[in-house]
Structures are given as structure tokens and as C-alpha cells.
Symmetry: C2
Subunit: 150 residues, 2 copies
């Protein structure tokens, strides 16, 4: 009797869906905290996306705008806005590609290179602060898992 009642209840029972245990909800909150840490610690009100763009230019050197966007996981519309704001701060320079008139070549300006040099230790500290609740092994685990679902 109890069994049949239980079984009948199961038939109509909703899936156990608890918002606070969903990976998407947790991802959003983790990123919110990271963004807040970034805004508090980074120089000159540079945002995380702007920093990603500068850091990638520092890694790979000059690059067409769209390709740069692919390197930092931004679509064409987004990278354009980011580059425009970096341009307004004179941290990057834009040149027409003489060999292909479709392309704009984006480079760090001298001020941009200087900024990156000063900001790298801060960016490292931001990462450290973001994962501060985790020990060294847990940090490695988290990076590995995130890389696999990205």
C-alpha cells in the first residue's frame, strides 16, 4: 500500500530542480564576484574584457580586429566596441593592412605596452584573490574542469 502510494506519487512528481544547484546559476555568480574583484583592484577602470584584449595583444603582437576577437572569445560586434574604447584611451593603435584592405591591424601603443607591464602583477593578484577560497590543488582542478566545459 505504501509502495503503491509512493509509486503513484512518483508518477506525477516534478523533477527535483533547485536553482542554486544549477551550474549556470553558479557560473554567473562566480563571474559576478570575479568582476567585482577586478573592478576593485585593476588600474584605470580597465574592465576584464578590455584587459583580456590588451593581454592577448601582448602575447601575440599585432593582429586583425576579427582575429583578435576570436583569440579573446568575442564576436565581431563585441570586439569592435572594446577596441573602440581602448582606442579612445590610446592604449592601442589601428592601421590599415596594406595587403588586404578589409583588415584593420590592431597593435598595442607605447602607452599600452607600458600599461600591460604594470598591470600584469595586478591581474595575477586578481586571479589569486578570485580563487583565494581554494587550495592549490583545488585551483588546478577548477581550471581543468572549466576548460572542459568552455
Amino acid at each position: 500500500m505504501i509502495d503503491s502510494l509512493t509509486h503513484a506519487a512518483m508518477d506525477h512528481e516534478e523533477i527535483d530542480y533547485v536553482l542554486d544547484e544549477q551550474v549556470g546559476f553558479l557560473l554567473r555568480q562566480a563571474q559576478q564576484r570575479h568582476t567585482a574583484i577586478f573592478a576593485r583592484m585593476m588600474l584605470s577602470d580597465i574592465t576584464a574584457t578590455q584587459w583580456a584584449t590588451l593581454a592577448k595583444l601582448h602575447e601575440i603582437g599585432g593582429c586583425s580586429q576579427n582575429l583578435l576577437g576570436r583569440h579573446v572569445a568575442m564576436d565581431a560586434a563585441t570586439i569592435k566596441g572594446v577596441v573602440d574604447r581602448l582606442l579612445a584611451r590610446e592604449l592601442v593603435v589601428v592601421n590599415a593592412d596594406p595587403a588586404d584592405s578589409r583588415r584593420l591591424t590592431i597593435d598595442l601603443s607605447e602607452a599600452g605596452r607600458d600599461f600591460v607591464r604594470r598591470a600584469i602583477p595586478i591581474a595575477a593578484a586578481i586571479t589569486e584573490e578570485t580563487v583565494a577560497p581554494l587550495d592549490r590543488q583545488e585551483r588546478e582542478t577548477l581550471l581543468g574542469l572549466l576548460a572542459r566545459i568552455k
Copy 2:
């Protein structure tokens, strides 16, 4: 000689900062993928934040707008926009709180309750798809680590 050269190099060497290994950059990309999965699978062009709001209302019942925002990790300005869009779709209803004229009470509408019932299995499938590259134990680990840095 080699040692002293190495040591001299270390003195001026920049911190090893590789963008693709930074937790913030990986978090953003993981969330981008989740958002894309969500947009592809969810009903009626409901976004992940709108869904979070509906699902939380389903969990806790009616709620003031600001408190609802705190439950779903959105500030007052953000939750207002989300509620406005849900209101335009007639998935929620708004009533003045008779006991406190500052408050607006947000509730699921009948259509909203119906939508949540139909969407819960889909939301569960979206979570499943997001963590599909991970096995059961890795999923648990990821949720635990994210919860600690959120």
C-alpha cells in the same frame, strides 16, 4: 655560468601570465557556452536570467521585487528590467503590498506557473548538456568549487 645567466634572467623576467589559464577568462567562456546552449534549448526565447527569476518564484512563491533580486543575485536595477520583460510576456503579475507601500509583490501568473512546469525538464536538460563533458563525480566537484568562489 648557466646558473648565473638563468638567475640574471629571472631577476628581470615578467610574471608568467597566460590569459587562457586565468580563472576569469575561463569563467567567461564557460558562461558563454552555457548561454548559447540555453538560447538553443529553452522555450519562448526566455533568457537564463529570466528563467532564474521564474524558477525562484516557483520555489519561494510571491516576493517583493528587491528581495526577489537578492534571491537570484541581481541588483535592484537589473531585477527591475527582468521583471518588466516578464511582465510584458504576462508570465508574472505585480501587486502593491497593502501593508508596505514601498513594496511591489511579484507573483507567477497562471501562464507563468504553466510555463515553469513545462520548462523545468528543459532547464534540467540544459544543465545536463552544459556539463556533458564531465562525469558524475566531476560535476559534483565543479559545483562544489564554484559554490565556494561565488
